[in-house]
Symmetry: C2
Subunit: 334 residues, 2 copies
């Protein structure tokens, strides 16, 4: 391995000067040039561990994924958020460290992150206990789509999303509107349901108990089951607002299996705007979450925290706007 000593010798300067030259500290042009030449010639690559040890700065951000459904990185929503996060963070030369997590979101994970010396932590898990937050530790942290005591959370404007969905349905003549809720232990699920009820009330529409069904963790199976319950009702809704696209797609499918037409008999509005939403039949009208922007905002907040380290009053929460994407799954009632 070629070290700073080799460069120093080759260039005829001390290692201190080499270090300065490489870190853009004050050295003469001549020295800098000679050193850079040597670096080039010897194919020198600085050792990040040594640098981290000396500076106490790792240029790594720890990523903690929840275990929801055990899919981790492959989660359709979170992976896009992280992609947005990464795009921003790498502009500032941070790498992302995905740590082992057979330990869960607990003390062990935090200890491991501490061990790794990450400069910041981004937590991507929508439910479960917030053990790390409780530790009130020293590492700057940002949360995505999850409530927390600590400042630094980014999430979609779920309330407005629900409102957009309900209003769109109402504008199309629907009054018998059901809601397939997301898991009621998740922040998003709770907020969307809350938004649904609020929007219905604002429209002067009743929120019927039997039109409120829990679809669980946003899965196909959950959406299917929830829809079956709705279909089994004597007085079926004419439209259903579903708290997640995956559930919505499953719901549409089972509706068709029951011999009903979508959207003529039952209309659907989803939430997320996953890639396939526009490719199913009928194309799904949905509330789009800007995953990339969520990730980017989280990165901005975290980098700010890292750079100011509590000196300034940090951003508390950041709500990212959502939008209604009209496609073909909503029918206009006569």
């Amino acid at each position: 391995m070629v070290t700073i000593y080799d460069i120093a010798e080759h260039a005829g300067y001390s290692i201190a000067t080499v270090s300065k030259a490489l870190n853009n500290k004050k050295v003469s042009e001549k020295a800098k040039q000679k050193i850079l030449d040597a670096v080039e010639e010897l194919h020198y690559t600085p050792n990040s561990s040594a640098r981290t040890l000396a500076t106490n700065k790792s240029w790594m951000i720890g990523v903690v994924f929840g275990e929801n459904l055990g899919i981790g990185i492959a989660h359709p929503f979170f992976s896009q958020v992280i992609e947005g996060f990464k795009k921003h963070a790498e502009l500032y030369n941070y790498d992302l460290l995905f740590v082992s997590r057979h330990m869960g979101l607990g003390q062990e994970t935090y200890k491991h992150l501490l061990h790794r010396g990450v400069d910041g932590i981004v937590i991507v898990q929508s439910h479960g206990e917030d053990e790390i937050g409780k530790l009130n530790h020293a590492i700057p942290t940002v949360y995505i789509d999850r409530p927390t005591n600590e400042p630094g959370t980014v999430y979609s404007d779920n309330l407005t999303g629900s409102k957009l969905a309900v209003n769109h349905l109402v504008e199309n003549g629907h009054t018998k509107i059901a809601h397939i809720m997301g898991e009621q232990t998740t922040f998003a699920g709770i907020e969307r349901a809350k938004g649904f009820k609020k929007a219905m009330r604002e429209q002067g529409l009743p929120v019927r108990e039997e039109y409120l069904v829990d679809g669980g963790f946003y899965s196909h199976a959950g959406g299917r089951e929830a829809m079956i319950r709705l279909l089994s009702l004597n007085d079926r809704p004419t439209a259903v607002y579903v708290a997640g696209d995956v559930m919505a797609i499953a719901a549409m499918k089972v509706t068709k299996e029951w011999g009903l037409r979508v959207p003529e008999d039952i209309s659907f509005v989803g939430f997320d705007d996953i890639k396939l939403a526009k490719h199913v039949d009928p194309a799904l009208t949905t509330i789009r979450q800007d995953k990339g922007l969520i990730g980017q905002q989280a990165a901005i907040i975290l980098l700010d925290k890292i750079n100011t380290q509590g000196s300034t009053q940090n951003v508390d929460k950041k709500m990212v706007p959502v939008s209604l994407i009209k496609r073909d799954s909503v029918h206009r009632l006569a």
Copy 2:
């Protein structure tokens, strides 16, 4: 920060002994116990940079994602593969480092990985130049779904996959079978097309030029366009084998838009078995790739390389089996 010195002092031993105790080297039971107690009491966490510096082992594996379509981590196929990889790697206490890649898959990326001192590299990119492979460097590397000169690649058995698809179609009475190919600069795209032709020949069926259309990078748009070309033919195929599920779903959609019935008028077989394959209408018959297993195999190969460092003859290539998943998109011809 509490260091090994604090532990040493607290426990009444030297730092050397502390280090040994923590690394399960030979120390007396008594010493070990006292040291462990001190660790507990002072909330000591070892510093990985220091350890890495001293041992030249980072316990990190670098992950290089391709930029195909700019989706990176959120790629529906690769993210699942990486998830499988991670599950295995973390059993052995490795963390995954996703490095910045505004640099692409070139020398710069490799330099950065070297800088980080990762113990191994997993390359997840299906096409483009293999700059890193060319460098014939020292860091153990494994490739996923991509040909390489270096030993250490994992990929699905694309040839057999194509054969399964074609045979299934033939068994259902189809003879006019088209193929929407994946991008012909990707390994998978090439192999699947090759397998298609081979299987057709084996069945004694002609491979008609106009039944072979390129869908590009496995995207919705590509699948749609390719299908339109097929639909525009005077003599349409009765079945099409599509090299990717996303393209297949787009193809089915446009077929229905053209007023044809799926699968009665045209049958479809996809490739991948993405999550939504079974939730579209009709549910897509497809060739399943075992993404988790691919990732796991890659991890096994890489860890083996890391641990043997060229001393043994390493595994060259590893082909992961695929399977036919029968659903509702194939119609039996009378």
